[in-house]
Symmetry: C2
Subunit: 334 residues, 2 copies
DNA sequence: CTGAAAGCGCTTACAG
DNA sequence: CTGAAAGCGCTTACAG
């Protein structure tokens, strides 16, 4: 029933307003070269006719587009969902049209989504790369389009990257722990080989070295869930009961570790101190006692926009932007 | 540096392949009226030139579009994120291009996003309405475009709606509880006036009536979080310690209620039974002992696609599609 | 400040 | 099965 009637064009608007198509176009594109009288007439006609601007036609003719693709690796990850929301808000405020797509942590889906969005003339691509994204592929894309990567760095890529200062995050939180004299300390994460996780471990190791302490073996849990972390920690504790401090990749993991520790029934003087490198908001989390590092998705989104705008203006943005992080000390590390 | 070189058109492809533009176009649109030889030549030329199909031009000329807008009210809600992901997958499989946008539970943002997507010629709109979406506005939109609403019903709207059978969900879970002889039972949710929550309460009340039991006053917690639910329940318990069963709007709420109950140190024979009407996956949730009702986002997405396709083909779909739900009995209700 | 004209990259009948 | 031609709705110089 619809789709057909859709033939109100600037021509009709011009007719009703009693001006030429050019004038209507100028009004539509916010040009100042139009008299106020004409502008009002045009606006009135647009309203009366229910005219809808056809961006496809405009983009095609002008060879410009304000579509920005936001390619998220996993929308069901709370941090990524938060980031997507922030990015959309910020992009829309700048007059872009944000288009969020999810690659579901799958290279093929990522490639396919981006190829499709090229066909829709996306002006830029903001990408949270999936784990096995190929650097060469990204570089090719980046040589032809404006692309910025997010949260996850690709080794030796030319594409500009915006991410939190993971190394600092794990470093400050580890130093905080070590300065209290803990000695048997370990790191726990869900995918130790992931680039961002390697960076966290690097910051952790550096802190240990500064305190002349050799850390225990890192603990890996199968997935990024509290349950998985709980089990992994329980396992690790069995073989290394001397452990007295643990640095977790994020709050979800820490939540699981704390639950595991609670079942141990340790005396106050044997308490195992727990900290997290990345705070994540989660409506299911109950306790607010975890020492953690806050990472501002808002700040990251803002930086990302800046880098993108530089790319679109053909100036060379920093190839890497590290966003600052903040230690929040609570009871869990006392 | 980019955006300018982008002038490889079907004309260039036709030239290199030694055929006419029409033939290239036919290949591009998957027509069968092209000989295999020509097709191969065209495909080869496309590959060599790095030609990118221009969907804007195609859409404009053909007056067809396969863009589907998925307007989510809150991407940071795990259920909605899950749903968005499922929808995208299913839509893309059917040859559509899903565009996810978030309205952040804000009517203005919702309206603005949809108006913009009209300008981009979206062929259809899948909308999770924000709480104060106006029925009249939706009906107008729906009379001009293909729109289906999701998860949240709008009173007396003409737009087709796909949602889980909330009433059945709360009914079966309440019946399960009541059949065990509980007498002092209450419902708890974060926004009792929300339409979907009213439906949950309706199923709950019906079950109570069938067992000739008057339920206690419903409990409302400020926000949909475990912490908020924990506090609200603690408060309610103080004034009504006789309570021995509680039906929660969802798992997050139930999680908070359980935490609150745990602090009470009740004897085994005084235990308060807890159930939830809507299971939500959350990586921070540790215990798997909650009796809850599973709602399949995959099934909802599938139904949604079907309804949308009917609309696009101008057949009249069911105005309301209720997706079935499944009771999962665990220890929390025993 | 306004109008007439050309053209963006495609698709679609319509002849051959 | 292929080619020539018209046109989708806009923008953009270019004259007036």
């Amino acid at each position: 029933m619809h789709n057909k009637a859709k033939s109100v064009t600037i021509f009709d608007v011009a007719d009703l307003a009693g001006v030429s198509k050019s004038t209507v176009s100028l009004v539509l594109t916010q040009s100042k070269k139009v008299s106020d009288k004409s502008k009002q007439k045009v606006l009135k006609a647009i309203d009366e006719l229910g005219y809808v601007y056809n961006r496809d036609a405009a983009a095609m003719r002008s060879k410009r587009s304000n579509l920005i693709a936001v390619v998220i690796n996993d929308l069901t990850d709370p941090v990524m969902a938060q980031l997507a929301t922030e990015l959309e808000l910020i992009l829309n405020n700048e007059g872009f049209q944000a288009v969020i797509v999810s690659s579901n942590n799958n290279v093929e889906q990522q490639t396919q989504a981006i190829n499709k969005l090229k066909e829709y003339n996306a002006a830029g691509f903001i990408i949270c790369p999936v784990t096995n994204t190929c650097t060469q592929w990204l570089d090719t894309l980046s040589s032809q389009h404006s692309v910025v990567t997010l949260m996850q760095e690709l080794a030796f890529s030319n594409a500009p990257c915006v991410l939190p200062d993971y190394k600092k995050a794990s470093h400050i939180v580890s130093m905080h722990l070590l300065s209290q004299g803990v000695t048997n300390i370990a790191f726990i994460g869900s995918n130790l080989q992931l680039r961002s996780c390697l960076t966290l471990q690097h910051g952790f190791n550096t802190a240990c070295a500064q305190h002349s302490i050799s850390p225990l073996n890192a603990i890996e849990c199968g997935e990024n869930s509290a349950l998985s972390a709980k089990n992994a920690f329980a396992q690790a504790y069995k073989s290394t009961p001397a452990i007295n401090a643990i640095v977790c990749a994020n709050d979800i993991i820490a939540h699981g570790v704390l639950a595991s520790i609670n079942t141990l029934g340790l005396a106050a003087d044997q308490r195992i101190k727990v900290v997290s490198c990345q705070q994540v908001k989660n409506s299911a989390l109950l306790d607010d006692t975890l020492t953690s590092v806050a990472i501002s998705t808002h700040e990251i989104a803002k930086r990302c926009l800046l880098v993108l705008q530089e790319l679109l203006q053909n100036t060379a943005p920093p190839v890497k932007t590290l966003v600052n992080v903040n230690l929040q000390i609570k009871e869990s590390s006392q």
